[in-house]
């Protein structure tokens, strides 16, 4: 399977970056989750350390497994993903948190199947695309890909989990592009999709076009444009954004310091250890800290793409693109939401947010990249 040479040629820049990100993650959670449980201020921090530890194990295991082996079990994986997403919708099996039936509760563990489904989807879809390479030239040939996407997205939307379903779109887009799909069609579809969403919302608000969504759901989507105009003077749907902007904005160049963020530590900012963790970074570690975080993740994705480029295997490269797409979209959405430039959808910041499922799915996905790197030379011409 592997030999010493392959280990020597591993992308250590990638591994070191990931390691530093994990260290940073521990630091961030030590402050962001401090006191969330008043009687046990380190409750979430301890859980987070556990997630990092188990995540590293998962990362290593996935890295060691030859990613190509998954192709032999596509059907099985597909059934697994499908069952996971269906079962969570069944009352009594899936649990409701924050108005969405997205959770399996197993004793002290709460698992979010959609998080794992993303990674399974990447593996499955890569295989799907690899088989159709050079046949992704026109819209007609792309339609099966969208049907493939529609199934998990539909199930995730039924929870409902808008944020995660959007991640599926981002993953699909990145993977299609990497697999060589006609870029004109892809960008056409992207523009068309975004355009029609904007048009629909515009028509809804300006001309009263009925939409199959409640006002409060739409509000969450559009309120970032003007958070004070939420019908409650900034105390409704806009509240989180306002508090997040205050947190980041008041952080300044150097930040207020570890545990010194008044917005986060005094609970003005909701979800500050999960979806809004980037606002805590902005507040306590300032512009320098925030930029540093973005640069580290950017570098991680850059190294991942370098691995893809070296892999000489479309299947592996498409998997990596999917993982990069997933991370990129999570970062864009989570940080963008905290900065008031993206709609509120509530998805975690990769690795930095508290939450086991997110940590594990990200570590597994990042492990896939190392697996690609580790097994790249097994194809010999």
């Amino acid at each position: 399977m592997t030999d010493n040479k392959q280990f020597k040629e591993l992308d250590y820049a990638y591994l070191i970056t990931l390691f530093l990100i994990l260290v940073g993650s521990a630091i961030v959670q030590a402050t962001a989750s401090y006191g969330v449980v008043p009687n046990d201020p380190y409750y979430y921090f301890q859980r987070h350390l556990f997630s990092i530890g188990t995540g590293l194990v998962l990362f290593a295991v996935i890295a060691m497994i030859n990613y190509r082996d998954y192709r032999n079990y596509s059907r099985l994986i597909y059934v697994g993903m499908f069952l996971m997403l269906v079962l969570v919708l069944v009352p009594g099996i899936g649990s409701v948190r924050n108005n969405a039936r997205s959770w399996f509760v197993l004793g002290p563990l709460t698992l979010q199947p959609a998080e794992f489904a993303k990674v399974l989807f990447i593996v499955l879809f890569a295989d799907f695309l690899d088989k159709r390479k050079n046949h992704l030239e026109n819209l007609w040939q792309l339609i099966p890909c969208f049907i493939f996407l529609a199934i998990p997205v539909g199930l995730v939307l039924m929870q409902p989990d808008m944020g995660t379903s959007l991640v599926f779109f981002a993953i699909t887009f990145f993977m299609l592009f990497a697999a060589g799909a006609n870029p004109k069609i892809l960008f056409g579809l992207l523009v068309l999709g975004l355009g029609s969403v904007i048009l629909l919302l515009f028509m809804h608000y300006q001309m009263g076009l009925p939409l199959p969504l409640e006002d409060y759901q739409l509000m969450r989507f559009t309120v970032f444009l003007d958070p004070y105009n939420d019908g409650k003077g900034g105390l409704g749907a806009g509240y989180n954004i306002i508090q997040s902007l205050i947190a980041i904005g008041s952080g300044g160049l150097y930040g207020k310091g570890f545990l010194q963020g008044t917005q986060s530590q005094s609970n003005f900012l909701p979800y500050h250890h999960t979806d809004f963790v980037f606002a805590v970074i902005g507040e306590e570690f300032g512009f320098i800290g925030s930029i540093l975080v973005l640069v580290f993740f950017l570098f991680l994705m850059y190294r991942a793409l370098m691995i893809a480029r070296k892999s000489l295997d479309l299947y592996g490269a498409v998997i990596i693109s999917g993982v990069v797409g997933m991370m990129f979209f999570h970062i864009l959405e989570s940080a963008g939401m905290a900065m008031g430039v993206m709609p509120i959808t509530g998805i975690p910041f990769p690795i930095l947010s508290s939450g086991g499922s997110s940590m594990w799915s990200n570590m597994a996905a990042l492990g896939l990249i190392i697996s690609v790197d580790l097994h790249k030379k097994t194809i010999r011409f």
Partner: protein
């Protein structure tokens, strides 16, 4: 992978990387905008989120006596407030939890909810409870502190509350404080006061509330401070931070009041009132008295009855107290010593006498023959038949006949003019208390004005009646001719009435001889306060210098530094000759000598006292003019080296000597250290052989 695919792969990863870099750069730009460009605004917003500024009341300054006795001070009390909580569920939770702690102290859930919903300033904290320092407060506060985690928005502050350790003693001088009202709010600096403040309402509490000094201000109020609190999203205070502005306590006001004299005055007053109530009149209960230093104008003691207890006003009045203070004919809230003007009765006679001696060539030894009434119409009676009476006897025995004669010779203008010089019927100059009355000194001009206003009232009434009649006539269903006849008749009636009234008032408006006679013996329209009578006596005693009366000696900063010191101030040098004043003082001396109206009170008194008794018609509807009189007494001592002067009145006391005179005796005994003569009841048992009727 073939070469073509590899090349494409490289290109695609490049595109992906470029896209990611581009979007991350946009995020970086956004970060730069938020954290660098608009950082100041967000910093301010974050502070406003988390910092609460709470005004801290300054401790009000103390009011202390000349000898250090504390009349008004401030002690800490605990105030429990509940911050405004926007979220309804959170608010309800806070109320329920708070009630859980406070129920056993008498604050139920409903009470608290009512207070919160009833808060006029709905976004501000609601005051739930205010407890004076004590065991109960400590218990409750410690329980609340223990459960602080479960009580978001609950803040416990210590707030100074007013305390009056001596209760009613000098209560009228001290006055009281209360929540500022709207009209008071209009008259104060809005930068210093807000609607939650308390303000002095009466007495020194009011006059020394605040007064400007260069670019600062002095006074009891002090300067409010501002305390910073850091709070969390539930408005739960996380920590108390340094004062943004530390409060500065108010200044200490030091009175001229001597505790022993004030106590003696008030005790004597109470004893005399009780005696009068038991032996003379069940209308007894009101009295006033002032003891003043003759060479300075310093007020050493001042009292008014019924009593006023500032302590009653601290927590708001009970219904019973409201009835006592505000639905009481005796008006306990009024400081009668400075605010109530009474007819002076015979205490005025020294003025008549001085005007007489100054403006005539009569010798004080010249005697008239008192036959029990004056020989001129309307023959106003004397209370006795004095026979041959000279100047000294006239004062000593309070002869009405002599004084009417003296008044007639002197003339009203000289009498009224001299009275004004002695401070009667004019602003007494006391600025240390609010609501100080000028009294009233009658003279031909103001009699004319007064009667003219009565006449005009009456003429207006006739006019109104006539107009009503005309309207009435016009509404009747009769011919125009008949109407005119009736209107003409009404007109004639009106003219007749007007003519009659004009005729009557032509007489009333004019100063009549009997007005002078009445004025001369202290009856009629004249009304003076005890402060005015005391200062007039003091002026006579010191040889004609009228000082500004004052009762604040100095103001000290909270650190004890002198802020302001009062100095004796001369208001007037009277134009009476020293000789006339000496003769008049001698007359007053004879009041306490054999044959004098107060001999029985002072015959064995170790200090020589010069005095004058007075009885005054109450002038009140329903009172019997022949038996119901107020008793007045003015005096100074020692006779040959006057130090203090006193004026007092006991309502319905009937005789000046036996009522106010007894009080004066007790106060003088205390002042001169003659303890054996202080006892009021012993004085009451003295029987007067000569009692002015």
């Amino acid at each position: 992978m073939n070469k073509e695919t590899t090349k494409n792969m490289v290109n695609r990863t490049r595109v992906i990387l470029a896209a990611i870099v581009a979007i991350f750069m946009l995020l970086g730009v956004r970060l730069f905008y938020l954290q660098i460009q608009t950082n100041a605004m967000f910093t301010d917003r974050a502070e406003r989120n988390t910092l609460r500024f709470v005004e801290v009341e300054a401790t009000r300054g103390d009011i202390v006596g000349a000898d250090g006795y504390v009349y008004a001070t401030s002690k800490p009390s605990y105030v429990v407030t509940l911050a405004y909580i926007a979220d309804k569920e959170e608010r309800e939770k806070a109320i329920v939890n708070l009630a859980g702690c406070m129920e056993k102290y008498g604050y139920s859930e409903e009470d608290i909810r009512e207070m919160v919903t009833g808060n006029a300033r709905k976004f501000e904290a609601t005051e739930i409870a205010s407890l004076p320092w004590g065991l109960e407060a400590m218990e409750m506060i410690s329980e609340l502190s223990e459960r602080r985690e479960a009580l978001p928005g609950v803040v416990i502050k210590t707030v100074p509350i007013r305390s009056y350790p001596l209760g009613t003693l000098a209560g009228h001088i001290i006055g009281h404080t209360g929540p500022i009202n709207e009209s008071e709010m209009e008259n104060v600096d809005p930068e210093i006061y807000d609607m939650n403040d308390k303000i002095g309402k009466s007495g020194v509490e009011r006059t020394y509330e605040i007064f400007p000094a260069e670019d600062d201000y002095y006074g009891l109020k002090g300067n409010k401070g501002i305390q910073k609190y850091q709070v969390d999203a539930a408005s739960r205070p996380l920590q108390e931070m340094d004062f943004s502005i530390a409060p500065i306590p108010g200044d200490t006001v030091v009175l001229t009041i001597e505790h022993n004299l004030q106590t003696t005055l008030e005790d004597a007053m109470d004893a005399v009132i009780l005696d009068v109530y038991e032996n003379e009149s069940d209308k007894a209960g009101s009295a006033a008295g002032v003891l003043i230093e003759v060479d300075t104008g310093k007020i050493l003691a001042m009292a008014s009855r019924p009593t006023f207890n500032p302590e009653d006003f601290v927590d708001g009045l009970t219904q019973e107290e409201v009835d006592y203070y505000y639905r009481n004919e005796m008006r306990p809230e009024i400081n009668k010593a400075v605010a109530s003007a009474y007819p002076p009765g015979s205490t005025f006679k020294m003025l008549t006498g001085m005007a007489f001696l100054e403006n005539s060539n009569y010798s004080p030894n010249y005697a008239i023959n008192c036959t029990g009434a004056y020989w001129e119409k309307p023959h106003i009676a004397c209370w006795n038949v004095h026979g041959q009476t000279n100047y000294f006897e006239a004062i000593a025995q309070s002869c009405n006949s002599y004084m009417q004669f003296a008044g007639q010779i002197a003339g009203i203008d000289n009498i009224a003019g001299l009275a004004t010089e002695f401070g009667l019927g004019v602003d007494p100059g006391l600025t240390d208390l609010p609501s100080v009355s000028d009294g009233f000194q009658a003279n031909p001009e103001n009699k004319f004005d007064l009667q003219e206003s009565y006449l005009n009232m009456r003429l207006n009434r006739y006019k109104r009646q006539y107009e009503e009649k005309v309207e009435d006539i016009n509404q009747q269903e009769i011919t125009q001719e008949e109407k005119e006849t009736l209107i003409e008749k009404a007109e004639k009636e009106r003219e007749a009435s007007e003519k009659w009234a004009n005729g009557i008032f032509a007489f009333e408006k004019t100063w009549q001889a009997y007005d002078t006679y009445n004025t001369s013996i202290g009856q009629g329209m004249n009304n003076y306060t005890m402060l005015q009578l005391a200062n007039y006596t003091a002026t006579l005693a010191n040889g004609g210098t009228r000082y500004r009366p004052y009762l604040v000696e100095r103001i000290e900063s909270p650190q004890g530094e002198l802020v302001w010191q009062s100095e004796p101030e001369i208001l007037q040098e009277v134009t009476v000759s020293e000789e006339t004043m000496a003769l008049t003082r001698r007359g007053m001396k004879e009041v306490t000598e054999p044959g004098g109206t107060s001999y029985y009170l002072y015959y064995d008194f170790p200090i020589e006292v010069a005095a004058k008794t007075g009885t005054a018609q109450t002038g009140r509807a329903g009172d019997d003019k022949s038996t119901e009189f107020h008793g007045l007494f003015v005096a100074f001592a020692p006779y040959d080296n006057p130090q203090v002067a006193f004026a007092g009145i006991v309502e319905y006391g009937r005789h000046g000597g036996s009522s106010a005179g007894v009080i004066a005796r007790s106060v003088f005994a205390e002042y001169f250290g003659e303890e054996d003569y202080k006892d009021v009841n012993a004085a009451n048992d003295l029987n007067s052989p000569l009692v002015e009727e």
